[in-house]
């Protein structure tokens, strides 16, 4: 079973990897985006770590709802409302349980990913974070490690795609050949989950 501490570790591990990879995320966002993905997410997850420490929520759902709210208010770019909605909706789906099972988490995360697709209007193949999140959620039934691998492969698979959402979509065919920064950061989030599980 997974308790609030597990979910705090998930957020902390993600914040640390976003910190480490911020420059790379921004570099990926330079040719097809507005070159702020790394710094925006870094600001957001730094705030998430701080608020979790301060408020110390005691259920898995409360950890994710608080983290999501923080991302919406601090990121400043589209990844804020998108990741914020992902975490908030996942947290709400987990409800008030003090501990949740892995299958319950997989289902809640699927609800979160569905909410992100509804908010941004993106589908798999549009060269967005969805291309890492959807395969990750499907693999989560097997293991956290399988989800991490699926997210990483999903992020790599965005390279030959043509963007159909967000700023990159204005570039049309020129968006082809660049790995999507949003799918890359989504893979960091999923890797943080595996790290929290000690995998």
């Amino acid at each position: 079973m997974l308790d609030a501490d597990f979910f705090r570790r998930w957020m902390t591990a993600t914040a640390a990897s976003v910190d480490r990879e911020a420059e790379r995320l921004t570099a990926l966002d330079s040719p097809i985006g507005d070159a702020d993905h790394g710094s925006n997410l870094q600001r957001g997850f730094t705030a998430v770590t701080a608020v979790l420490q301060k408020e110390n929520p005691d259920t898995p759902g409360a950890v994710l709802v608080l983290a999501g709210r923080q991302l919406i208010s601090t990121v400043g770019g589209a990844s804020g409302p998108l990741y914020g909605t992902l975490l908030r909706r996942t947290g709400k789906a987990l409800g008030d349980d003090a501990e949740v099972g892995e299958e319950q988490l997989a289902e809640a995360l699927r609800a979160g990913v569905d909410a992100v697709m509804a908010l941004g209007g993106a589908a798999p193949g549009d060269k967005t974070m969805i291309d890492a999140l959807v395969p990750a959620v499907e693999a989560l039934g097997d293991s956290f490690t399988a989800a991490r691998t699926a997210a990483e492969q999903g992020a790599l698979a965005t390279t030959p795609m043509q963007a159909r959402k967000g700023r990159a979509s204005y570039l049309g065919e020129r968006s082809i050949g660049h790995q999507d920064p949003g799918a890359t950061s989504a893979a960091l989030l999923v890797a943080g989950l595996a790290e929290a599980a000690g995998e």
């Binding site: 507005d34 919406i72 400043g76 770019g77 589209a78 409302p81 914020g84 909605t85 908010l119 700023r167």
Partner: protein, 136 residues
């Protein structure tokens, strides 16, 4: 509808200057009807390009006169942040609506319509109609 129940307008752009200028333009073209509360929410709190949920929430609270608030946005994170705030349920005043409209033309139509004392439905319809005005 009485003067104190006028619809409020929030203009959300990635740029503080764009939001402020469009607000000024729309108010300038509104003429002498009911004064309409129009507040820009542009850029991030640090003055950079982007969207601030805090500025949007503060702007919506500032223009709320009890007749609803029409929020117009430019693109990307501005749209998504307003939608995410609306989904939160308690971040924006009751009767706040994201209006699907072109930013500049929609803002002018919204403010001019609100100045006639029209309700939120009419303001939304007028702003959305701005999409149908072709220039060529």
């Amino acid at each position: 509808m009485s003067d104190d129940k006028v619809v409020g307008i929030v203009l959300v752009s990635h740029s503080a200057q764009v939001a402020e200028s469009v607000a000024e333009l729309a108010k300038g073209l509104a003429g002498g009807g009911t004064p309409v509360p129009v507040v820009p929410a542009g850029g991030t709190e640090g003055g950079g390009l982007g969207t601030s949920a805090e500025l949007i929430a503060a702007a919506a609270a500032a223009v709320d006169r009890g007749a609803g608030v029409a929020v117009l946005t430019d693109l990307g994170s501005a749209v998504l942040t307003v939608k995410a705030l609306l989904a939160e349920g308690d971040e924006l005043p009751a009767g706040t609506r994201l209006v699907d409209a072109p930013f500049v033309e929609g803002a002018v139509a919204a403010v001019v319509t609100a100045a006639t004392g029209a309700d939120l439905d009419a303001v939304e319809a007028a702003a959305g109609d701005a999409y149908s005005y072709r220039k060529v």
